[in-house]
Homo-oligomer: 209 residues x 2
């Protein structure tokens, strides 16, 4: 088993924190996205979409998509549970995990990739060329800012994003805050619930992954 | 228990097909998106993001996000399994389900909502106002077309999107083809694997949901 990784990128980072929380170590092969190794022929033969991470199982099966890789390890090693155990908890964690992705990480990605000149013709991850879309970057910035407010409200009176226990939704939220920082977006001082939650998360050893 | 629904929209449709495959019936309250009922105060009190569906449990808990609702019912009634049972199968189905969403449904939504004049200032689902972005619509059209090719290749020699059994990835794929049609995007005659798969899916009674 091995992981094709690019540890600095937000989606790989989610998996790496997830694995650290479970105490699982997997051998890694780094794919250098700055050198566009992910859209070279060797890696495209592994994942034609050109995205990392990819988990290679011992029988040669390849699993891409960060949350699919997390689900693999959640099923293989359920403890500690990071995706819920009862139907209601499973659903609530998935709801929050997706809210963070769709209203936080996705617009943060739009803000970053459609603005940064280094991404010219690479506004969408993968081998196909798409020009920058500065209006989309601006929309992304506004949406991230609004989502921080939404999260700050949600965290009023509770310790974790999806309720009373740590979950993959907190991992996505933590990675979102770091990723938004790449576009100089950050929680406001007035968002005290969000900031206190972020400080608590930062103290977990896994978050250094 | 009840579902706040808007049955014609693509995400609610995924849940409704999922429930039909499991033979589960849930009372429904229709939220009329054309009348903007989803961004009125009553519904925003249920889901501040203004999206449907929302599942209301008997204790008053609200679960939004279509895939979170599907996971709730998968956990409550595992048969027939639509999200996998072994770790490898769970991961493979989640991988394909997300590929269909991220590279198919999301760009199909960008193509539709950023072009259609009726969506002026509603380019993003929910209560906040964002202008149309015609370049994003055009990029979405190209991405859906490319993804149909990718799916056609993936379906070479197999019956279902995620492998040898029907899963939620097929539901998302089926809904994607219908939704792309709203923007006059359709599989090409030359994409024979994709078209044969779509015909097989269309024959399932659940797909009339």
């Amino acid at each position: 088993m091995k992981l094709y990784d690019y540890a600095i990128a937000p989606n790989p980072r989610r998996v790496n924190i997830f694995l650290a929380e479970k105490g699982i170590e997997v051998p890694v092969e780094e794919i250098d996205l700055r050198q566009k190794q992910n859209v070279g022929p060797d890696f495209l033969a592994i994942n034609a979409l050109g995205t990392v991470q990819v988990l290679e199982l011992d029988d040669g099966t390849h699993i891409s998509e960060s949350m699919a890789i997390c689900r693999y390890f959640e099923a293989v090693q359920p403890d500690p549970p990071l995706m819920g155990t009862t139907p209601e908890e499973i659903a609530r964690i998935e709801m929050w995990q997706r809210r963070v992705e769709l209203n936080g990480m996705t617009p943060a990605g739009e803000a970053f990739r459609n603005f940064e000149p280094a991404f010219e013709n690479r506004a969408v991850a993968g081998p196909d060329k798409y020009p920058l879309n500065p209006e989309l970057a601006e929309r992304g910035r506004i949406r991230v800012t609004k989502f921080f407010d939404y999260l700050d409200n949600a965290l009023d009176g509770r310790d974790y994003i999806a309720g009373d226990s740590f979950s993959v939704a907190d991992i996505s939220g933590f990675v979102l805050v770091g990723f938004a920082g790449w576009s100089n977006l950050a929680p406001e001082e007035s968002q005290t619930n969000l900031k206190a939650w972020y400080d608590r998360m930062s103290a977990r050893p896994s978050m250094q992954s």
